[in-house]
Symmetry: C2
Subunit: 254 residues, 2 copies
């Protein structure tokens, strides 16, 4: 049975897509059959793998227009498939409001393919609206990318409240997989203070591996490649590989 992990944080620009895209590639490099689902109307995870304006996309599966299996695309990595997003997804937030089971649409459609993968990662938009609620309802656990900045810390309480609400009402098994410190700049006082505070509050839930600010990570998407294929020797690639070891050890055991 596969593990479905939602990569969530309503704060914008904290590294959700960069983490989802590069962890998916690292999981595939460890020969774990992996599916990356792009649930953000911006479609950044899709374009990170060179998919733009897909004919079939997650919107079609959410509305029931086509089975999710028909939206799945292969990537350059053998063990990685992607369900892309397209601009139609913007309308889904509004359209889903008045449909039945509006929070469980993703869970139902993923059920059709979850046994084909060991890990399913969902890249979420920067909001706590219906698309993110669908991801929280479908997921076994959540990964929280966190930039060590004041506004990002401020939003954490709201995110955990929403997770608690979903656990109580829609998905009793939902857990926090872990918090990932992203774009870390060790020279920066604020960054160090926020990190110390987060580790004090969340202890072991915060991965030891920090993801440093590394320009190669922001260059890779313009080449339609994850960091592993763009520059495997970069500090960004090394950090995501180390983080992958930590995450997989916790999920599958040593």
């Amino acid at each position: 049975r596969s593990r479905i992990i939602a990569v969530v944080n309503q704060k914008g620009g904290v590294g959700k897509t960069t983490s989802a895209v590069n962890l998916a590639a690292c999981f595939a490099a460890s020969e774990r059959r992996t599916l990356l689902v792009d649930l953000d109307p911006q479609g950044n995870s899709s374009s990170a793998y060179g998919v733009v304006n897909p004919t079939r996309q997650i919107y079609d599966a959410l509305t029931g227009d086509s089975p999710i299996g028909e939206t799945i695309q292969k990537t350059e990595l053998d063990y990685l498939h992607v369900v892309p997003a397209g601009p139609d997804l913007v309308g889904a937030e509004i359209e889903l409001v008045t449909t039945l089971n509006r929070e469980s649409r993703l869970k139902r459609t993923l059920a059709e393919v979850r046994d084909d993968y060991e890990l399913i990662l969902i890249d979420c938009p920067p909001s706590l609206g219906l698309l993110t609620l669908n991801a929280l309802t479908a997921a076994d656990s959540i990964l929280i990318p966190l930039q060590c900045e004041y506004y990002a810390l401020e939003g954490l309480a709201r995110l955990l409240e929403t997770t608690e609400l979903v656990r109580a009402e829609l998905n009793p098994g939902l857990e926090v997989e872990g918090l990932i410190l992203t774009m870390v700049d060790m020279r920066n006082n604020l960054s160090r203070q926020v990190e110390a505070e987060v580790r004090r509050h969340f202890g072991e839930k915060v991965y030891r591996t920090r993801i440093p600010r590394n320009v190669r990570l922001s260059e890779a998407p313009s080449h339609g490649k994850p960091i592993l294929l763009y520059d495997i020797h970069s500090r960004g690639a090394v950090a995501y590989l180390k983080l992958t070891e930590e995450i997989l050890r916790r999920i599958f055991g040593a």
Copy 2:
């Protein structure tokens, strides 16, 4: 008559709040009566001025529960008032879907106070949903903060399409006030390439003043102060003051 400017970009973390908060303070420092409206459920613009968990907020004005005048709060700056946001605003996206005139709620409520201010700035959430549509319908023009990164550039076309749609259907006078280059790092190749491309496409619409990456800008919100009151000598403060001159010259003439 006042000018209403929406600070928009669905890409997360590009400096919408940082620009709205600091431009509002600079406008007030130039003795222009200014109102800052926080339309983001995250409430970052509100907390940047020390307002958390407000008793009355923009949500009450949007739903008609109270006149917008009752939600307005003073700040340390004489010429600046704020309409704060609170967590209830998350629900507004869903609740507004089935209400009458759902895109024009903000426009109608702002009409009650717009003659009391020369400039009204609206800080938008990172999405193109109903809250941002309300801002685009109420605004005379839009300011687009743009980080010089690949994903941010990718989203620009979608943002301009949506603006065009709003101009055609809901707000014929809507214009682009200008594009602000934020978190600029001149040592970074990608940043320089993206900037060159943006200036080639948008010409004069891109302000000459660039906002550099400056840690003092990200420290200020944790003290509940705009950069002008936190560290007026910082590179961030100097940049926003210069940008203010450019913006006000274009709006009010030399």
